[in-house]
């Protein structure tokens, strides 16, 4: 008998539930049960970062976590980053810097960078490269991805400084 478990979690601020087998990965659950297909599967063994989502604000490989383990967790996926039709500053910077080509790794890159900038508002280029080293991109050569993240960090610091000044 296959064990089926009612799995419920808050995804992008919304409570979502579905039945899952214990062996269903969080990535499978998000993609196939909740139809949030922005989370991509590039390797299914935790090495490429394409499936990165935030669980309680922390980046996690959604291929290395079972959906049942995310019971009642707060999940953020790529679908929860833009405010309506308005791209976030990070998404805009990726577009401006041409930090994506085929787009397949992009959701994972955005999630990893989101956590990085929350943890460290003023990262050095080397810190950005290390923080992003778990996310494979085959198209861009990474240079524009690193540039985009540094640009956002600088922009946020500047606007924070302005707010203080005001």
């Amino acid at each position: 008998m296959t064990q089926l478990i009612e799995v419920s979690m808050v995804v992008n601020g919304e409570r979502r539930s579905a039945l899952a087998e214990p062996r269903h990965s969080l990535a499978h659950f998000l993609r196939d049960k909740l139809r949030l297909t922005g989370t991509h599967l590039g390797c299914e063994h935790g090495s490429c970062g394409a499936c990165t989502v935030l669980v309680e604000g922390r980046s996690v490989r959604a291929c290395l976590m079972f959906a049942v383990q995310a019971q009642d967790a707060n999940i953020t996926t790529i679908e929860g980053i833009a405010q309506g039709d308005e791209l976030s500053d990070l998404q805009r910077a990726f577009q401006r810097n041409h930090a994506l080509q085929c787009g397949f790794c992009t959701p994972g890159q955005i999630m990893a960078a989101t956590e990085l900038l929350a943890d460290n508002p003023d990262p050095s280029p080397d810190q950005v490269r290390h923080a992003m080293s778990g996310n494979i991109c085959r198209c861009t050569g990474y240079v524009p991805i690193i540039d985009a993240i540094l640009e956002v960090a600088a922009g946020r610091r500047e606007s924070a400084a302005q707010q203080v000044a005001e």
Binding site: P22, R23, E44, V55, R58, Q69, E115, H130, S133, G134
Partner: protein, 293 residues
């Protein structure tokens, strides 16, 4: 790359987890961070009829400082929590320095100290760090608790002295003395990859300005993380200068056997042990070598 079927249970107490493990002696697997077990399940290189998820056990996770200055790290404490812990940075600087070498951020966010030690991957950092720090591992079972030294814990690749009904509860790192120096270095193909060879060196300087304790630990050897007796002993009683380092390098690979794989030949691993022993000791002792040509 979809795992075979298994049942799943997430106990909320350690006693409950121990009972579940005892009740399913042959076909249950403990899952903590799952950063090594899950890939093996996905590749169907590992299987389990029942996964016992210990992530929901309150009290199994966390870092605390004991009255005796020892640092206690709970089994399900994430690598990332150790990395970011000010307490670890202050009281276990070697561990703090080594954490960024453990895989990548997203893996460190899930992976746990207990999981890494129980996996006993020969190229992983944690077993070596625990040996270098003379940590003790606390195992809980229906028979109660017992302590195993970090050195005795890993036996072979993916094999430890943990009995089948035991669950790793916490790791205790004895107080880090003020006169202790360390060096840590590893060579991997890329950032975050398993080490080809890594060396953690810990030296205690006596009041006579001589080295009165030394523990040089290598990982990435074929079998398990290993305390290198010969170079550690070669440092004892010496003045912390280049001559001491040279003496340690000279016998760094004594008695060691090296394996070849497609990432690295045995000869390369031997070279790295020698060179990294030198580099970590110099880093520990603040010796700078001028090599401008």
């Amino acid at each position: 790359m979809k795992p075979a079927k298994f049942d799943y249970v997430a106990p909320e107490s350690l006693d409950e987890a121990i009972a579940l493990l005892a009740a399913n002696p042959d076909d249950a697997q403990i899952i903590a961070g799952g950063q090594s077990l899950t890939p093996m399940l996905n590749f169907r290189m590992a299987g389990a009829a029942l996964l016992i998820d210990i992530n929901r056990i309150v009290g199994l996770s966390g870092i605390r400082l004991g009255d005796d200055g020892a640092v206690h790290i709970g089994a399900t404490t994430r690598h990332r929590d150790v990395e970011l812990s000010p307490l670890v940075a202050r009281h276990l600087p070697l561990v703090h320095a080594a954490m960024p070498y453990v895989a990548h951020v997203a893996v460190r966010n899930r992976g746990t100290i207990g999981g890494s030690l129980c996996l006993a991957e020969p190229s992983a950092e944690w077993p070596a760090l625990c040996i270098a720090c003379e940590a003790e591992i606390v195992l809980a079972s229906p028979r109660g608790r017992r302590r195993v030294t970090a050195e005795e814990f890993p036996l072979a690749p993916y094999t430890t002295s943990r009995e089948e009904d035991e669950i790793l509860e916490e790791v205790i790192f004895p107080a880090w003395p003020a006169n202790r120096r360390f060096g840590f270095e590893e060579v991997s193909r890329r950032a975050g990859d398993f080490a080809i060879i890594g060396i953690a060196s810990v030296l205690d300087l006596g009041t006579d300005r001589r080295i009165n304790a030394a523990r040089i630990v290598a990982f990435g050897l074929g079998d398990r993380a290993l305390l290198l007796d010969a170079p550690s002993a070669a440092l004892l009683g010496r003045v912390p200068e280049e001559a001491a380092v040279a003496a340690a390098i000279a016998c760094a690979d004594e008695g060691l056997e090296f394996d070849s794989d497609f990432h690295a030949s045995a000869a390369y691993r031997r070279r790295l042990v020698q060179r990294l022993v030198g580099r970590t000791l110099r880093a520990a002792l603040g010796i700078k070598t001028e090599q401008d040509g």
